[in-house]
Symmetry: C2
Subunit: 245 residues, 2 copies
Amino acid sequence: MNLIRKMVNSYSEEDAQFHYELKKLLNFSPRKINKYKKAFTHRSIQITDKKGIPINYERLEFLGDSILGSVIAAYLYKKVPEGSEGYLTKMRSKIVSRKHLNELGKDLNLIRFVKSNIDQAKAGDNIHGNIFEALIGAIYLDKGYKACQNFIKKNVIIPYVDIEKLEGKITSYKGLIIEWCQKKKKKYSFNTYEDSGNETVKHFSVKICIDGEQIAKGRATSKKKAEEQASKRVYFAFQKQINLT
Amino acid sequence: MNLIRKMVNSYSEEDAQFHYELKKLLNFSPRKINKYKKAFTHRSIQITDKKGIPINYERLEFLGDSILGSVIAAYLYKKVPEGSEGYLTKMRSKIVSRKHLNELGKDLNLIRFVKSNIDQAKAGDNIHGNIFEALIGAIYLDKGYKACQNFIKKNVIIPYVDIEKLEGKITSYKGLIIEWCQKKKKKYSFNTYEDSGNETVKHFSVKICIDGEQIAKGRATSKKKAEEQASKRVYFAFQKQINLT
C-alpha cells in the first residue's frame, strides 16, 4: 500500500498505469520509464528534447535489433552444435524476420502503449515488430544485456523458436502427438477453453492428458497456438520415445 | 613460481605458451582454452570432435560478428545521441566493414596463432578479420558479454573508432594539429621513434610537444598510426580551442 502510494505520488496517474502494465509485461520493475515511453513513441508525434533531438522509437529500434540478433546468435550457437555457419545465419534470419517480429509484437499487444498521430491502419504491420525491437533497446538501456536475454528467452525463444519446425521437419506438433498416441494405443484428450482473465486480448488455454494423466498446459492468443505450444511440451517430454517409434 | 609450475603441469608446453600469449592479448586470464584454439583453427585442418562435428573457427565467427555488432550499436547509440537510425546503421557498417576488421586482426597479429593446412597467402586477407570475429566469439563463451565489451572497447573503439574521421570531416589529425599550431603561432614537435620492445611486430612511439610541453603520446605498428593516435589525443585535449578557431 505504501509502495503504491509512493508510486502514485512520484508519477502522474497515466505514468503509474504505464509502469504497472510494463511491470506485468517485463517481469521486473522498470526504472528508466522515459526509455520505454520513447520506445512507444511514433515519429508522427514530432516532439523533441531540450537539445532539439526528436523523441521517437527509431534509434531504439536500431539498438534493439542488434541486441536481439546477438542473443539469438548465442542461443543458436549453443542449441545447435552441429549447425554450420551458413545454417546458423539462415536460422537466425528466420527467427528475426520482419514477419516473425510483427507477430511477436502483436501477441504482446504492444500497440496499446503506442503514441502516434497517424492512423494505426496507415502505420502498417511493421510497427508491431519495430516497437518490439525498440522495447528490447529500452530494456538494454534500463537494465543491461542480461535482462534482454531473459526477456528474449521468455518471449521469443521459449514460445516461438522451434528448430525442428523452422527447419520444416515438423509442421504440427498436435498432429505428431495424435499420430503417436494412436499408434501406441494411448488415450489422449485436448481440453481447450477461452481464458482471457483480465487481459484485453482474448486468450485460450489448453490441457493435454495422455492415459488420464495431465502432461502439459499451454496458453496463447489463439486455440491453434495454445494447442501447438502444449503439444510441443508433450513432444519434449516424450521426445525419446516418439523419435524411436 | 608455483602458479607457473601448476600451469606447466596441467598444460603442454605449447598450451602454456599459447595461454601466456593470449593473456597478454586479452588482459585477462583465459579459462576455456579450447574455445580460443578453435577460434584460430582453419577449416583446412579438417579435425572433428567426438561427435564428428568439425572443429574450426567458422561458427565462432558467426557468433563474434553478432556480438561485435551489438556492442558497436550500443556504443554509437550512446556516443551520438543526435544520430538518426540511418546514420547509426551507416556508421556501424563502416566500423565493422570487412576491410576494417582485417586491419584490426592484422594489427593484433592474430595470424601467429592460426593453425591451417593452406598457404597464408592463399587464405587471402579476410582471414585476419574472420579470426578477429572468432576471437570475440571465444571471449563470449569463456567470459560473457561484459568481457567482450571491454575487449572491443580497448581494441576497436578507443584506437580506431573516430566519429569525425569516419564521417569524413577530419582526414588527418596530424594535419589538423599542425595547421592549428601554425595559425596560433605555437611551437610544436613530433618525436617519432622505433619502440618494439620485446614484441615480434615492429612498433613505433611518438611524443607530441606544444610550446615545450609534452601533450600526448602514441604507440602503434606504423609511424603514421602512432602519430595519428597521439594527434587525436592532442585534438581531444584542445578540442574546444581548436573548434573555436
